[in-house]
Amino acid sequence: MNTADTISTHRARPANLLWLLALVGAAMIPWFTGSTFHFHIAIMVCIAAMATGGLAVIAWVGQLSLAHAAFAGVGAYTSVLLVTRLDVPVLLGLPAGGLAAGTVAFLIGSPLLRLRGVYFVLITFAMNELFRLVMLDIPAYSGGSSGIVGIPKISVFGQTLSRHQDVYPFMLICLVLVMGLLVLIRNGQLGRRFAAVEENLTLAESSGIPTARTQNLAFTIGSAIAGFAGALLAHYIGFISPETFGFQLSVSYVIMLVTGGRLALWGPLVGALFLTPLPEFLRGAVEYQHIIYGVVLIAVLRFLPQGLAGLPAQIARAKGGRP
């Protein structure tokens, strides 16, 4: 298996099947242990994987967004305000959150995406700060620095999912839907266009690909997914404030993406799966959690530029053998 395979072909190969089985196995763990705490971790992994998946779509066209938390915030606030103020059902509020975030991204995307590389990162960083500051300045809607508490739980057809065990299957379905969308995009014509733009912008432009529109599309889709994930987070945790969606959250999405693999299809899932439960295994050393995050991030950048998802291919290459 080499990297080119993971990008284009989607035939079921034994290795891929094995990975899929491992993933399904990992998803089943909470049911085996039956622990509420494990359900909680699994739910957080699902939400983080979805949000990071959105970031991955943006990364596929070669841009890194540090405003991802702000878009999650737009989605969260949209859904929460619709549900609490206008009595919209949560099941409609969630996609509305995604839609709102996507719309905002679409509107501001084309001027922002003229910037590339570190400049795009800087402006998205500034956007995220601006979002936080503006939200803090309108406490009537955002709840100000004390936030909004007592957000209604997710309910499906009149059935409120109050226990962790009940929320988890719902989150899994959402995750499968989002990952399915990612697979569809990646393996379809759009994915090839994204890859062309990421690989060589000038060449893509001269081959007749509308690069500006393609990048904006990726930004819109990715941010909409972030909005959806943010809405899920809000209704699951039950509390949001402008600070929830600050710089730190954006950074943690970037860390998960980079650790998992910036350009790998399964990178976001691998990153979330690896980094979300990590602090829980280090419960005796909570204060070391962020230090370990930092070390993992730098080590992955240095030694695994393809991320953890690219590890099998890298090992295969190191052995010098072909599978």
Partner: protein, 287 residues
């Protein structure tokens, strides 16, 4: 009214000078090494802790403490360049992501060592200077004075010494500088070390005014960011202009409108400048 304007002007210049200390180190790291250093604020925090340790634990006089802080910070910057940033020289984006990791390591390292609580710093001077209705606390005037002296020393170093010229050459063109014998393996650690030292000294100067805790790095980082984007990444004269401008904007908006409005105005300004002129006020356009 005219009194309020004059007071805002003075406060603005004081703020601007402090922002400049932060921003020059930041822009130097970008100009020399192409690194957008998200850990820059943590070096400010480390400088503040160095000053605290020197003055309260070791009982050293403040000037000696500052000198030791600078020496320590240059060393620290050189080590960080070697361990963290060197592999990413050719890759701006990876270097920047690595700096995010470095910031987490430094901040939470300080958290483990010193605990989360803000620590008081003994005040060095007390009282105020008055000219008519204008008031400047002596502690601020002291910070301003030392800050200006350090900036002047740095200016002389940059303009009139061999290493200063080499750094400026690197900012202008890496390859040509290397061809003309600028030794990258010395200049890179030196460039980052000096940048880190400027941040640390700003932290040391500010410690008596704002106190010390592991979380104080965030705001100065933001200010450095704003200044450097406004002035143009990598441009030192741009940083100087933008720092004073930012100080004045903040001071006037918070006197005449409100403090939160000041933040929103500056961020809107940053986004506007990035969109209209990504190279900043005095920066060079990227190709």
């Amino acid at each position: 009214m005219s009194f309020l304007i004059a007071q805002s002007l003075i406060n603005g210049v004081i703020l601007g000078t402090l922002y400049l200390l932060m921003a020059i180190g930041f822009t130097l790291a970008f100009g020399v090494m192409r690194i957008v250093n998200f850990a820059h604020g943590e070096f400010y925090m480390i400088g503040a802790f160095c000053a605290l340790i020197g003055v309260t634990w070791l009982g050293l006089p403040f000037p000696i403490t500052l000198a030791l802080t600078i020496a320590f910070a240059i060393l620290l910057g050189a080590v960080v360049e070697r361990l963290v940033f060197r592999p990413f020289r050719a890759d701006e984006l990876s270097g920047m992501i690595a700096s995010l990791g470095l910031a987490m390591i430094l901040q939470h390292g300080a958290l483990i060592l010193f605990g989360p609580d803000p620590q008081a710093f003994p005040s060095l001077v007390s009282g105020v200077f008055r000219w008519g209705a204008l008031i400047v606390p002596k502690s601020r005037a002291l910070a301003l004075g030392i800050g200006i002296v350090i900036l002047l020393v740095f200016y002389v170093f940059l303009m009139h010494t061999r290493h200063g010229r080499a750094l400026r050459a690197l900012v202008q063109d890496q390859e040509v500088a290397a061809v003309f014998g600028v030794r990258l393996e010395i200049m890179y650690p030196l460039g980052l070390g000096l940048g880190v030292a400027l941040a640390a000294v700003a932290g040391g100067l500010m410690a008596p005014l704002f106190g010390v805790s592991p979380f104080i790095g965030g705001t100065p980082l933001l200010k450095a960011f704003i200044v450097v984007i406004l002035g143009g990444l990598g441009s030192i004269p741009g940083a100087a202009l933008a720092a004073i401008l930012l100080g004045l904007i903040e001071s006037f908006t918070s006197s005449f409108i409100s403090a939160s409005a000041a933040d929103i105005v500056t961020f809107a300004l940053v986004i506007g400048v990035l969109l209209v002129r990504p190279a900043g006020l005095l920066g060079r356009a990227e190709t």
